[in-house]
Amino acid sequence: MINDSKIKQDIKSDDDKMIDKLLSTVKSPKAIFKIWIIVLLIIIGFGCFAYYRQLRFGLIVTSMRDYTSWGIYISNFVFFVAVSLIGSLVSSILKLAKVKWSYPLTRISEIIAVAAIICAAIIIIVDMGRPDRFLNVIFYGRIQSPIIWDVLVIMTYLVISLLLLYLPLLPDIALCRDRLKHISVWRKKMYKILALNWQNKPGQLRRLKKTSTILEIMVIPVAFAIHTITSWLFATTWRPGWDSTNLGPYFVSGAFMLGAAVIIIAMFFVRRSFNLQDFISNDHFDKMGKILVMLSLVYLYFNINEYLGPAFKMVGVEGEHITELFSGDYATMYWLVQIPGLMLPILIMLFKRGRQPFIIMIVSFFVLMGAWFKRFLIVIPSLQHPYLPIQDVDESYLHYYPTWEEWAITLASFAGVLLIISLLLKLFPIIPIQEYINQDKTNKEQTVES
C-alpha cells in the first residue's frame, strides 16, 4: 500500500517536471527568435510593397497575360492547399488509427495546416485583379462553378483546422494560465480568455474528447474535398494536361506526400530550436520517413498514370504539351521535379541511414522544392497551349517569366506561413502536454502492473 502511494507520488512529481519542461518552449522569446521575426516581417513588407504596386497599376505588373492567366500565384495557392492537408494526416488519420508515436507531432502539424490554409486564402485574393469585388463571388457566384465550391470548402476547412488546433489545446492553455508566472500581462489575459475556464473537470474532459473525435473524423472528408475540388478547377477546364479523370487522387496523393515532407522539415528545426530531443526522437524521423516513402510511391504511381497515357498517344495539343515537358522549354524543370524531387528521395529513404534526421530533412527539402515546381508545371505549360489559339498574339503571351512583383509576393506568402507558425509555436506548447502525460502515465502504470 505504502509502495503504491509512493509510486503515485513519484509519477506526480515526474509529471510536474515534464510539464515545466514542456512549458519552457512558451517562455519569453530569445534574441534570435526576435531577429527571425523581424526578417520575416521585412520580407512581408517587401511583398506588401509589390502588392501595393499591383493594386496601383493593375495585374499588368505581373507576367500574366491572355494565355497564362494563372501564374505562380495559383501554383503557390495549390501548393499551400496541399501543405494544409498535413493537419488531417497526422492529427486525424494517425490519431484515429491510434498510432501512439505520432502524438508529439500533432500540434506542429495542426499549426502548419492553419498557417498554410490562411495564406492559401490570402494568395487567391492577391490573384484577383479587383479584390474589392471579392464579396461578389459569394453574393453572385454560380453554384455550378467549381470556383465557388473551392471558396466554400476553403472557408470550411479553415474553420475546422482552427477548431482542430484550438480544442486539443484547451488543457495546455489552462496549464499556461495556471503555471506561467513571469509572462507579460497580455499573454496572461490571452491564456485566461482562451482557456475557456478549463479546470480538468470530468464533464469538460468528456465534452473535449467527444468534440475532438467528431472533428478528427470530419476533417478527413473535408480535407479530401478541398484538394479534390482544387484539382477540379483544372480538370473542369479544357486544356491539355488537365483533361484527366486522374487529377483528383493525383492532387490528394501529392498533397499528402508534400505534407509529410513539410512536417519532417518542421520537426527537424523545431526539435533543434526548442530543445525537444526527448520528445521528438530519431525514431520519429525514421517512422515519418517510412510514411513519406509510402506516400511518395503512391504519388509516383499516379504520376506514371498521368503522363503515360498522353505520352503513348501524343495526340494534337496534348502531344505538344507532353513534348514541351519531356524535351521542350520545361524539360529541365520537369526532370528535376521527377528525379531529385521524387525518385531519388524514395531511393534514399528506403535505407535506414537515409531516414536519419539531417539526411531526411535535406531529402524532404528536395521533395518540397519538387512539389512547388510541380505545381508550376501543372499550371503554366498547360495554359500556354490553348485549344483556341489567338491570331497574331503578342510575343509576351507565349512565354511566362514571373516579374519581381510576383516573386516578392510569393516570397512574402512563404514568410507569412513561417511567421504564423513561429508565433503559434512560441505562444502555445508545442508538444500536447496533457496527451503526452496521459500516454506516459498509461505506459508507467502498465509497467508497474506487469
Binding site: Y140, G141, R142, I143, Q144, W149, L152, T156, V159, I160, L163, L167, L170, L196, N197, W198, Q199, K201, G203, Q204, R207, L208, K210, T211, I214, L215, M218, V222
Partner: protein
C-alpha cells in the same frame, strides 16, 4: 526663405478662366447655326422598307427645306448604335431623303426597333436627334431551352439536384461546426 511661406494668388489660372468664359460667350453670340425640324415617315412596300426623312430649318415662324444636308439613321443595339443606309444620305431640294432599311434586323419580342435620326456637324444646323420606334425588326423570342436548369445555365437556373447536394453538405458540415461551438460554450459554463 520667407517667400516660400507667402500665399500668392494664381493669376495665371484666373486669367485662363476669364478667357474661357469670354470665348464661350462669343461662340453663343456669333453662332450661325439654327435649329431644325425633322419629319419622318415609314414606307413599307411589299418589296422593301424605307424611311423618308425631311429636314426643315426654322427661320422665324417659317420652315424652309434644307437641301444638301447629310442625315444619319441609326438603330439602337445593345452596346452601340448601328448605322443604316448609305455612307452619305443627302437631302434633295425639298429637304427629303429616303433611306433603305434592312428587313432582317433582330428586334425585341414583338419586333420593335428603336431608331435614331440624327444631324451631326452640319454647317448651318445645330446637332439634332429624333427618336422613333418602328415594328420592322425580326421578333426575337428567348430560346426556352436556354432557361432549362443546367450546369451551363445562369445562377438562377442551377440544377435542383446540385443545389440540394451542395446545400445539404454545407448544412451538415456547418451544423456540426456550430454544434462544436455550442459544446465549447458548455465547456466554459461547466
Amino acid at each position: 526663405m520667407k517667400n516660400l511661406f507667402l500665399i500668392q494668388p494664381k493669376y495665371n489660372l484666373v486669367r485662363k478662366f476669364l478667357l474661357l468664359i469670354l470665348l464661350s460667350c462669343n461662340c453663343m453670340a456669333f453662332s450661325q447655326k439654327k435649329s431644325a425640324e425633322i419629319r419622318y415617315r415609314f414606307i413599307d412596300d411589299e418589296s422593301d422598307k424605307r424611311v423618308a426623312i425631311q429636314v426643315f430649318q426654322i427661320e422665324g415662324t417659317e420652315l424652309k427645306a434644307v437641301e444638301e444636308l447629310d442625315v444619319l439613321l441609326y438603330v439602337e443595339r445593345l452596346f452601340t448604335n448601328l448605322p443604316v443606309g448609305n455612307l452619305f444620305n443627302t437631302t434633295d431640294e425639298t429637304g427629303l431623303v429616303e433611306i433603305n432599311f434592312p428587313s432582317d434586323l433582330p428586334g425585341d419580342s414583338i419586333g420593335n426597333l428603336n431608331l435614331i435620326i440624327r444631324i451631326e456637324d452640319a454647317e448651318s444646323i445645330r446637332d439634332t436627334s429624333v427618336y422613333a420606334k418602328v415594328k420592322w425588326g425580326v421578333p426575337i423570342l428567348h430560346d426556352k431551352t436556354e432557361e432549362k436548369r443546367s450546369l451551363w445555365a445562369t445562377r438562377a437556373n442551377a440544377p435542383i439536384s446540385l443545389i440540394i447536394l451542395v446545400n445539404s453538405l454545407l448544412l451538415v458540415v456547418w451544423g456540426i461546426i456550430l454544434y462544436i461551438c455550442y459544446e465549447m460554450y458548455l465547456i466554459r459554463k461547466e
